[in-house]
């Protein structure tokens, strides 16, 4: 059976209505999930959906249930989360875990490496981008679906659990000694940040390239919630502002707004403060986390038979750029 036939069988069984699947096509969408678009036709009605299925080997070992519940946590909350429709943790007819979201039509994604990705809409995009990030940070945790799978860490320990995890990834997946990121990891352990001012949902991969916009200055979907967890809300700010996502020489964050404007917008939307010491820690952490992901990417590429070029790109070009960012940050900070 083809994937479309298996998906149709699943939809027919679970809905109790004969459902056809048409126009199933894989689309570019990161290396950690296979992403497909398709139309489902039932009772003469056609609707568009996105299928996210685990690949045989995954770049980021994430819990698809956490991703699904994170998206559900923000339904109708003004953060452009897509509508999460179904989750099959055991894979059912599709043999590998997957979930389904309603398709957001008419959107485009910007490449982190494109020069001036938003043109005349840069300021409007920055306003929305950092406002949405602030709303995610401000959302009260009580009763959010993500609490089913993620326990809130204590404000003074959330940095350590994240750092332990990503330092462990580097330790496990490194195939060539990396002195720069290892020095950064030691510095982070040696100089912990102040306790988080609150525990929030952290999107975990909030950056340019992970949202859809309408080409006219409006964000219409925030995607890629696969690393969502609970922690210090400044973590998302550190990740979004990593220089990796901005063109060298462009002082704006991802071609949108200045760092100062980004912080001001976020403070307004979240009602939270930005402690500079904490921000510096989370900024360095973001580069360490990035390098951990690119390290895994290189390993995954080799272990998977070198067939997914995006993994080679991440494990090579992106890893080298991240090393340069880390080295610059460490040089600015000076000796311990």
């Amino acid at each position: 059976m083809t994937l479309a036939e298996r998906l149709a069988a699943y939809l027919t069984r679970t809905s109790g209505t004969r459902t056809q699947v048409e126009n199933l096509a894989r689309i570019p969408g990161g290396a950690s999930r296979e992403t497909y678009r398709y139309d489902a036709i039932a009772n003469d009605r056609r609707e568009g959906f996105i299928l996210r299925r685990d690949p045989p080997g995954s770049l980021i070992e994430t819990d698809r249930r956490a991703e699904f519940l994170a998206i559900r946590s923000f339904a109708g909350k003004g953060v452009a989360a897509p509508e999460a429709v179904a989750l099959e943790a055991e894979g059912a007819e599709l043999e590998r875990p997957f979930f389904i979201m309603r398709r957001v039509e008419g959107g485009q994604s910007a490449s982190p490496f494109a020069p001036d990705p938003f043109g005349e809409h840069a300021a409007a995009m920055g306003e929305q981008f950092f406002t949405i990030m602030g709303r995610i940070a401000a959302e009260p945790l009580a009763s959010l679906p993500i609490l089913e799978v993620k326990a809130p860490p204590s404000p003074d320990a959330c940095w350590r659990s994240e750092l332990d995890y990503w330092a462990g990834v580097i330790e496990a997946d490194e195939q060539h000694p990396q002195p720069i990121v290892r020095a950064a990891v030691r510095r982070l352990y040696a100089t912990p940040p102040p306790p988080a001012q609150r525990i929030s949902v952290v999107h975990g991969d909030y950056r340019v390239g992970n949202f859809l916009h309408d080409g006219a200055g409006r964000i219409i979907a925030v995607l890629d919630w696969e690393m969502a967890h609970l922690g210090d809300p400044l973590e998302d700010m550190g990740w979004a502002c990593d220089p990796l996502w901005s063109n060298a020489g462009d002082p704006r964050i991802s071609g949108m707004v200045s760092r100062a404007d980004a912080h001001a917008i976020w403070r307004r939307a979240s009602g939270l403060a930005i402690d500079e010491q904490a921000m510096a820690w989370w900024a360095l952490f973001a580069s360490v986390k990035g390098q951990a992901i690119w390290t895994s990417s290189a390993k995954e590429w080799r272990d998977g038979g070198c067939c997914e070029p995006i993994l080679a790109f991440s494990g090579w070009f992106t890893a080298r750029r991240q090393d340069e960012i880390l080295a610059e940050r460490l040089a600015e900070m000076g000796p311990l």
């Binding site: 689309i27 570019p28 002195p179 290189a298 080679a312 790109f313 090579w316 880390l326 460490l330 040089a331």
Partner: protein, 127 residues
Amino acid sequence: MTPTLPDILAGQAAALMQPSPPEAGSEYQAGRMGIVVMLASLAAQEAQRGPAARLWENEAIAVLLGAQPESEPDFSWRGLDARNAELRRALIARHEAAEAAGDRVLQAKILELYLAMAKARRLELAG
């Protein structure tokens, strides 16, 4: 750093020879081909500058560590990377020792070297 240029080139061949599944849409295929093209452009830079960057880095680390020169140096990609791995491991240990001892002068030298190492291996995206 991994992957090496021979890895990249062999991987591109593997990726291009792999048959596409029926559900791979044109958008996905175009995106995949775009990345293969970018990798080819990066590979050209690495072929031109990679060996010199490795030789320079190995020499710079060896000088900082006061390491003995190799009696029979191997100038193949694999040989340069093997020597680099050995030197980088020693550099990590030396940096840790400098931090433990509070030797800020040596730490500053090492941080300066890290920056030069990262810049020497820089790859540029075309266009």
